[in-house]
């Protein structure tokens, strides 16, 4: 969290629009546990991870839509997901990811 917040701080001072994704629940052989974080900017910068690389692309897309809408969302990823072919976790785990616009409240 510390490393990510430091990067976010730099991005903010450069005027970037930022979204934060956090694994809030993990089960099975999920590659990253609850607490894992990925921060992204609209310009495509990334720091951290929420999986071993299998769902980061999908999370990035979701982050963009969350930045557009301004409303946070919980997204579920897992092998049982009907989107498994596109964004399933190859390792068979399941994760819930909370994606939110990064702002200070």
């Amino acid at each position: 969290m510390r490393d990510i917040l430091q990067d976010i701080r730099e991005w903010q001072s450069a005027g970037e629009e930022i979204a934060l994704a956090t694994v809030v629940k993990a089960s099975g052989s999920a590659p990253r546990q609850a607490g894992a974080k990925l921060a992204v900017t609209r310009s495509g910068k990334m720091v951290g991870s929420v999986s071993g690389g299998c769902v980061e692309g999908a999370v990035f897309e979701k982050a963009m839509s969350v930045l557009d809408s301004g409303s946070p969302e919980v997204v579920h990823y897992g092998i049982s997901d009907e989107l498994a072919w596109d964004v399933g976790l190859s390792c068979g785990g399941q994760i819930d990811v909370f994606v939110e616009p990064f702002e200070d409240r």
Binding site: M1, R2, D3, L5, V24, A34, V74, P101, D104, R105
Partner: protein, 257 residues
């Protein structure tokens, strides 16, 4: 950056325990509440009934280091909240500014550890040799160490390989609450040190906190190889796989010698 994340970052940097709660559904998705171990807080969840429940729950989780989602019943509806506890950063105190210590500092930094190197010998403890150590302290380790914060988040690694420095430093380490204590040395050196500590009044149980010979049995010989075996042992111990446990598939260094 201002606000709640700024305060969280400040708390982490000041080694203060903190818990961040994020509301995921209900009235205000995305709302955050920060609890600090000095009893202060910032932000709030909505409605107030939820905020109160999460505050009570959060206090008990503050120093757990855990991250989890929980559901709360508020006015007949279920609201999901994500709670994460942030412990003070891990610390490594290395006694002995030797060659292996240079590599160990590099590995420890990759793990986000704050690193302190202590040695009485100015010739070894130089910034040229340790450009990346967070602290480089010159003096007798047993005089310096009591001033360091040797808590459960601290790993102490003795690399000086000289009883003159290490025995007094080890006494300080054993009296501390450090989460890991390791000491370089062969089986014979380790056994001899344990005997000296016993003669000084330490019990077998106290002495058993020392991992010595230090490290996992990777067969390494060079300073970076030894450093990574020490780092690997620290990960194993911190994750509940102490290589000395009979149930562990891992082996302590030199266990086959």
């Amino acid at each position: 950056m201002s606000g709640i994340h700024d305060q969280l970052l400040a708390a982490i940097e000041q080694e203060q325990g903190a818990l961040l709660a994020t509301q995921m559904s209900g009235d205000k998705p995305g709302a955050k509440l920060l609890l600090l171990d000095d009893g202060t807080s910032q932000g709030k969840l909505a409605p107030a009934a939820l905020d109160q429940q999460v505050r009570a729950d959060g206090q008990s989780m503050l120093n757990s280091g855990e991250a989890t989602s929980r559901s709360y019943e508020v006015d007949g509806a279920t609201v999901d909240v994500y709670l994460e506890s942030h412990l003070p950063p891990r610390r490594m105190v290395i006694v002995g500014a030797v060659h292996t210590a240079i590599h160990l500092v590099a590995f420890a930094r990759e793990f986000g550890c704050h690193t302190t190197v202590v040695d009485a010998r100015e010739m070894f403890a130089t910034r040229e040799r340790f450009p990346h150590a967070d602290e480089l302290l010159i003096g007798w380790p047993d005089e310096i160490m009591p001033d360091l914060n040797l808590g459960p988040q601290t790993d102490i690694v003795m690399l000086a390989h000289d009883p003159k420095f290490e025995d007094p430093a080890m006494e300080v380490a054993l009296k501390s609450r450090a989460g890991y204590i390791g000491a370089m040395g062969s089986k014979n050196t380790s056994a001899a040190r344990d005997e000296r500590l016993k003669a000084r009044g330490f019990t077998d149980e106290q002495i058993s906190r020392i991992h010595g010979p230090v490290g996992l049995n990777l067969g390494g010989k060079t300073p970076p190889e030894i450093a990574i075996s020490i780092m690997a042992e620290i990960v194993a111990v911190r994750r509940g796989k102490d290589p000395r446990a009979s149930s562990s598939p891992l082996q302590p260094a030199k266990s086959d010698q």
